[in-house]
């Protein structure tokens, strides 16, 4: 399997003034990210506003970004759904387009039991030869996928890892402990990257790496090289930024911030809106304390 990388960016989807997907900016952004620390991008994930993208827009994003990247970095497609059949279809299409892997979110809203989660992910994985990454984010999906369910799913050949955003370090430790060495755990929260790596995690599917990719990469590289103190220092330095990017629903703050530093990605689509004045000021003031790695 192709190495997917330790630092992947959950990429925002740029929109133009009329709210249409700005494919040119999307291609530029993907390249800019891969040139500023990220090993790859996750396209049409929650940060990419998948709930308000049409499948056609998502497929075109996969195609155009794949072409723009060439062989640079890795391209991971968000193809999850709370409708198993739809997720199967999107994953098959992403495979035809030639992405490197897919990210499958826990079904939201319909609250499946653990057995339902197991069958859902197994069904999707068996419909494709793409490497599949599970995504557990109970703050958004209501249901938490238990360590037991993840361990069971890790037995499926092409389920290669999980993006864990539960913030539950005990659960994450049990996953790492109960799965094989080649099963990969990415943090799903920027603030959890360092602690998750400390218990055997692999990396991060990040939002903050839009802005400080090189610094996050440096934190990861330092940790892997055994320079734990240096990694911890970078973690502490970046924590405030990590927090601010989630003061209101992601991707509202990061989109605002990326626009602020001079890379045009437009406003979010409804029902998301731009941050109110107070939040905007907070984001702007916070950005002043950080060196921005994104080339603009």
């Amino acid at each position: 399997m192709k190495e997917l990388g330790r630092l992947l960016t959950a990429m925002v989807t740029p929109f133009d003034e009329e709210g249409k997907v700005d494919y040119e900016q999307a291609k530029k952004l993907a390249l800019a990210l891969v040139n500023s620390g990220s090993d790859g991008v996750v396209v049409a994930g929650t940060t990419g506003e998948s709930p308000t993208l049409t499948r056609e827009e998502e497929y075109r994003l996969f195609r155009e970004i794949k072409a723009a990247l060439g062989g640079r970095g890795t391209l991971i497609a968000g193809t999850g759904s709370n409708n198993t059949a739809e997720a199967v279809e999107a994953t098959k299409e992403a495979e035809r387009i030639g992405v490197d892997a897919c990210l499958l979110v826990v079904p939201y809203y319909n609250k499946p039991p653990q057995e339902g989660l197991y069958q859902h992910f197994r069904t999707i994985a068996e419909s494709t030869s793409l490497p599949c990454i599970l995504y557990n984010v109970p703050s958004r999906t209501v249901v938490n996928m238990s360590a037991e369910t993840v361990i069971r799913l890790s037995q499926v050949d092409n389920i290669i890892g999980v993006k864990e955003a539960s913030g539950n370090l005990e659960q994450i430790a049990r996953i790492i402990n109960g799965t094989g060495d080649d099963f990969i755990v990415w943090s799903g929260n920027d603030g959890d990257t360092f602690p998750i790596m400390a218990i055997g995690g692999y990396g991060i599917i990040s939002v903050a790496s839009h802005l400080v990719g090189k610094q996050i990469k440096q934190m990861i590289d330092s940790f892997v090289a055994g320079r734990v103190k240096q990694a911890a220092e970078i973690h502490h330095h970046l924590l405030k930024l990590f927090d601010v990017l989630f003061v209101v629903a992601n991707p509202i703050p990061v989109k605002y911030a990326v626009n602020q530093v001079g890379f045009r990605v437009g406003k979010p689509r409804l029902p998301l809106v731009e941050p109110d004045e107070k939040t905007a000021t907070l984001i702007k003031d916070t950005l002043k304390n950080y060196q921005i790695d994104l080339p603009v």
Partner: protein, 344 residues
């Protein structure tokens, strides 16, 4: 005045750093150096000789009082700020591709077409690195026996791409040796232990932009529109120094010893050619030097008027910073600072 005010735009880049080195090494007559870069690098301090100078963000008022502005910050920055600098009275010597093919902008290699400096309108373009070393080696031969056709393959180092590419080659080399897999960031594929036939973007005719530059820039510099040229440009895992295998067809036969005699007298050229002791140019030895090195001079056995040679130069020096500074020196020597027909 005992010296000129010089601005370096893109001072923190690889070529920017080389500008500083070359200016100092050649005792360029300057009394003040101003360093500019993007706001990301602004505030950094760089040593220029014994002096510590702060890098400032490039802005429209950066060029007041500047005599000579050396640009190497990419085409977009050049397109935006070069005309502003020229209007403010500076002569811009631009290392980017932004103005090279503009008919009103001279494209200059001092060993080949110094007189083109004279008609500048405030902006002089510095050619592409791989073009410079080729024309320095070919022009002296062309003057004696006009060239009809050139077929060239290049072996270009990663420093031509910038510091991120140097870092990428370093990291990937270590990863490969340690048995890890690599993820390309700068190039479309792994560059360590590999060669990539893609430099700059692909064009509709199947050539790359770099290959196109070698064709069009060579014709413009040599004032020779009718030379037929075809290039293949290849990135190799070398840090510094571009190499070129050049096949040339002349109007009449050009024998190797004659070519060697001509090139031995040619400005900026050094011949390293003794196959009995494995003497020929190679990038490791050429890095950090100023000359264009020529070796492996031999007949092209596939054509009666053909000659083949191997040409190597430091792409950051003769291929970029040095050539630009030489343009400035030539301009000063011949008193061509003021744009032709205009007043400062």
């Amino acid at each position: 005045m005992n010296g000129y005010s010089v601005a370096i735009v893109g001072a923190t880049g690889l070529v920017g750093q080389e500008f500083i080195k070359v200016l100092l090494q050649r005792n360029f007559p300057m009394n003040l150096v101003h360093l500019f870069a993007s706001d990301r690098s602004a505030g950094r301090k760089l040593m220029v000789g014994q002096q510590e100078i702060e890098v400032k963000e490039t802005s429209p008022d950066s060029f007041e009082g500047i005599d000579i502005a050396l640009f190497s910050a990419g085409s977009e920055v050049s397109r935006h700020f070069s005309p502003i600098a020229a209007r403010a009275g500076a002569v811009v010597i631009d290392n980017s591709a932004a103005f090279r093919m503009e008919p009103w902008v001279p494209l200059v290699v001092p060993e080949v077409n110094p007189e083109d400096i004279k008609w500048h309108k405030g902006i002089i373009a510095n050619p592409n690195c791989s073009t410079i070393q080729m024309v320095v080696a070919l022009y002296p031969l062309h003057k004696v026996n006009p060239i009809k056709r050139i077929v060239v393959s290049t072996y270009q180092s990663v420093s031509g791409t910038g510091s991120a590419a140097v870092e990428e080659l370093t990291v990937q080399t270590r990863q490969v040796l340690e048995g890890q897999t690599t993820i390309p960031h700068v190039y479309p594929h792994q560059i360590a232990f590999n060669v990539l036939p893609e430099i700059d973007v692909f064009l509709d005719d199947g050539y790359t932009k770099e290959e196109w530059k070698m064709v069009e820039e060579t014709k413009k510099i040599m004032h020779a529109d009718d030379i037929a040229i075809s290039a293949t440009c290849v990135r190799v895992p070398v840090f510094t120094g571009h190499s070129e295998a050049i096949h040339v067809e002349f109007s009449s036969p050009m024998f190797p010893d004659e070519a060697e005699r001509i090139l031995a007298q040619a400005p900026g050229v050094k011949i390293l050619d003794d196959t009995s002791i494995s003497l020929y140019p190679h990038p490791w030895a050429a890095a950090g030097t100023d000359e264009v090195f020529v070796g492996r001079i031999r007949r092209d056995v596939s054509h009666p008027n053909g000659l083949v040679m191997w040409v190597v130069a430091d792409n950051l020096r003769k291929g970029a910073a040095l050539n630009a500074v030489q343009i400035a020196e030539e301009m000063i020597k011949r008193d061509w600072l003021n744009p032709e027909g205009g007043k400062k």
